[in-house]
Point group: C2
Chain length 199, copies 2
Amino acid sequence: MANYTESIEKLIERLIKLPGIGRRSADRIIGYILDADLSEIKLLSEAISRMKENVRVCRICHNLSEEELCKICRDPRRRQDIICIVEKHSDVTAIEKAGTFDGVYHVLMGSISPLEGRGPADLKIESLLKRIKENHIKEIIIATDADTEGETTALYLTKIIKPLGVTLSRIGLGLPVGSNLEYADADTLSKSLESRRAI
Amino acid sequence: MANYTESIEKLIERLIKLPGIGRRSADRIIGYILDADLSEIKLLSEAISRMKENVRVCRICHNLSEEELCKICRDPRRRQDIICIVEKHSDVTAIEKAGTFDGVYHVLMGSISPLEGRGPADLKIESLLKRIKENHIKEIIIATDADTEGETTALYLTKIIKPLGVTLSRIGLGLPVGSNLEYADADTLSKSLESRRAI
């Protein structure tokens, strides 16, 4: 684009590195920035650098935090002896939305995937084991995804946590609430039958 | 999203104001920023504020510029007595890409659209007339879009520029180069017949 100025070209180069932003969307964002008030664009620019500077991961559970310990680890009303293990930050958000879990979390920062070359050493497992041993943890819930990587990770975790003598469970897999049995896939149905409960 | 920290929420609020960015894309951009190096994110944040601070419009033609006059108006090889009138900055880019025009531009910053409440007073027409009168302009090419707004604008400009006694033309409307006649719409075909040339 011969007509753009140098500062615009430089910004476009940066914008197209962002996920989901191509040349066309970058052009539209440039147009927006050119039209907007300087003060508003200053706030956007500051919000980006401030977010990057302020946000880190919790020293204990690796959840997102702006302080050494995250809100959940700092909360005296949460049971510190029950840990729910999840793959990523957004899983914490999802479970918090459900609002029924009153323990703390451990974010693995990924899952085991031999296909993509991610093994146990790439996950936050060492700090998890240290936590279980040093903090009188009573119960562990494995809440990794229900896909191949999540199940592989859950199997691996079961193997290494079981010998430590804590109560260990996997979240229930089965029919989603509100869904129709006839549309459920075969794997979900067999998991659902396996995890049946006496009534 | 209960789990995001304050700085993240603030940034998301700003991001979703950008065109084409919804909550989902904002989430993905947040993930990218969290994973990226601090130095890279600093450069992004700076590129945004620097672009907004540096870029303004050329005092003469209203094209984008980082100095008082844009590159084209400053270029001594360009003929300063032929003006091509376009609606917006990206039109300058398009014509510069073609690479055959050696005059200068005048960016109207919009088009006349009674439906959207934009009249001649909303466009940079006053400065255009001043330019024509004061700078010995010999020729004017009206290169507004071939849609209703563009045609309305071209008609209006013709009416006010014609009395000034400069050579005035409208860019050729017709079959796009490389296109098939059988797929052309009726309006394009009749324009194409109207603007036929003797061979």
